[in-house]
Symmetry: C2
Subunit: 298 residues, 2 copies
């Protein structure tokens, strides 16, 4: 069976895996990503990591998921806050020269969305919008089995979507940006402000939902806001399904119903039935990275 | 050169044309669409109209732009307010049987967007979002030369996007829906309410911009709201270009700058440079309809 190499390049670790064309993960190796070193050190480390994989040279191609927006044509990161030396570094060209295999890259939310669309919760669906609600909020648009990365790699940068112009100013994102209102970080901020300054996780806010009126209000508002955001995606793209991943969705029992009701109240009636499906893969980052070359015809 | 038949089926007229593969319109015929008659009468009228076109049988396929959302797989209209007998009528199958040519349909905004993407303002661009700002507001997403119609034909139904939750309730659309705040109809409504109850066109409001403070305010707010809407599309899709058509854009000199500034203030910096291009085609409906079979590989 054809195999591909998938790489999850993060600010802390790098993981590389052999993944077969069905999306099954075989060997995985992991090491420090040396994210704050110079480009040559990072690349040599990355190449060594790949060469540790048994029979790596038999793979048909290499895909990388990276933490930031990507110019997919040039094969470089446009911004690389966590791995500064890779900003606009010709990652694709250098790796192809060193490893003699075709190399593709895209950002981590996009590759996770690709994995879910091809072999996970969206398998068999033509147009999928993937949303990750975690520390931050991101997304990915997958059309006909390919990521739509966007002109400047920003398709899916939905954390900055304004869901209400009349909220508080928080940071560099828009006033009322969904990431400032509904991400894990936002739930912690609101919990600390309205419930207890010692709250350290979104899960603690969820645990208080049935006993603490402010916790209930925080979660209801988050669900309402997420519904607003999904109504935007529906009218703009009308995907075959929304796929929802990320740590916050582990508490889906406590807010999905309110979220979907909020969504349904804000869309044309035929859109109200768009399926909301939870992400299914354990390793969407590695699998999606490995699917990048395949999705590009390699 | 290969030719196709493009049909613009409206609530008043039907127009049919021979269009070549470069998007040049040759013969055009036009007749009453008999929109309120029964399905058989409408179809026979449509078939006769096509058969009037010289050498119609040499075309490779037929495309129809229709006024409402479409199930493109089944080839039928899902809602047909202006042509009630065609709601869920198997238009594609019936026409293919009668004319022995492959038939495709999609809604009128989508086919206009396809025309602009393939042979108009978006020529050569991979991902295009077309927006028509006319009596109402609609749009179309074109990816790799094909319309993304959506699960229930609602991709591009952007008139219902909420750009501010705190506006007045107007009609069945969302409170703060962009169509109720920035369409031609919205400009007339606001003009009648704030300037003069006898105002009958958006153009009259534009004409007063430099002399009437309320007219100025109406247009500035419309431009601000359109910028908000474009910021949604940018974060969700990041298209290679926005293409803007529709009657309101004839007054682009009076609001595009404010609109683009509003947009740029609400997006991540790399998105601020997304090109805004005015639609270029005289007959996007006929050309886009004719491009439908070609875009599907016929």
């Amino acid at each position: 069976m054809n195999t591909y190499i998938g790489i999850d390049l993060g600010g802390t670790n790098i993981r590389a895996a052999i993944v077969d064309e069905r999306g099954h993960v075989h060997e995985v190796v992991k090491r420090d990503s040396k994210a704050l070193e110079d480009a040559e050190t990072i690349i040599n480390n990355l190449v060594e990591c790949i060469q540790e994989l048994p029979n790596y040279e038999k793979a048909l191609g290499i895909g990388l998921g990276v933490p930031g927006p990507v110019d997919v044509k040039e094969g470089c990161m446009l911004m690389a806050t966590n791995i500064p030396a890779l900003t606009k570094y010709p990652l694709k060209k250098v790796l192809e020269a060193k490893l003699s295999l075709p190399v593709f890259l895209d950002n981590d939310a996009n590759v996770a969305g690709l994995a879910e669309a091809l072999v996970g919760a969206g398998k068999g669906k033509d147009v999928v919008y993937y949303v990750t609600q975690s520390t931050g909020i991101g997304g990915a648009l997958i059309v006909h089995g390919k990521i739509v990365s966007g002109r400047v790699g920003h398709a899916g940068e939905i954390g900055n979507l304004i869901i209400d112009l009349h909220r508080d100013h928080i940071n560099h994102l828009n006033v009322g940006a969904i990431e400032n209102e509904a991400s894990g970080r936002a739930l912690i901020r609101k919990g600390q402000s309205l419930i207890d300054p010692n709250i350290e996780s979104a899960y603690e806010v969820f645990k208080l939902k049935d006993t603490h009126p402010q916790a209930r209000q925080i979660i209801e508002t988050m669900a309402f806001d997420m519904g607003t955001m999904f109504s935007y995606i529906a009218h703009i793209v009308d995907p075959d399904a929304f796929i929802l991943g990320g740590g916050v969705t582990k508490s889906s029992d406590l807010y999905f119903e309110t979220m979907i009701n909020s969504y349904a109240s804000k869309v044309h009636p035929p859109l109200a039935n768009t399926p909301f499906i939870k992400a299914q893969l354990d390793e969407p980052g590695l699998i999606g990275a490995a699917m990048l070359p395949k999705s590009q015809g390699v």
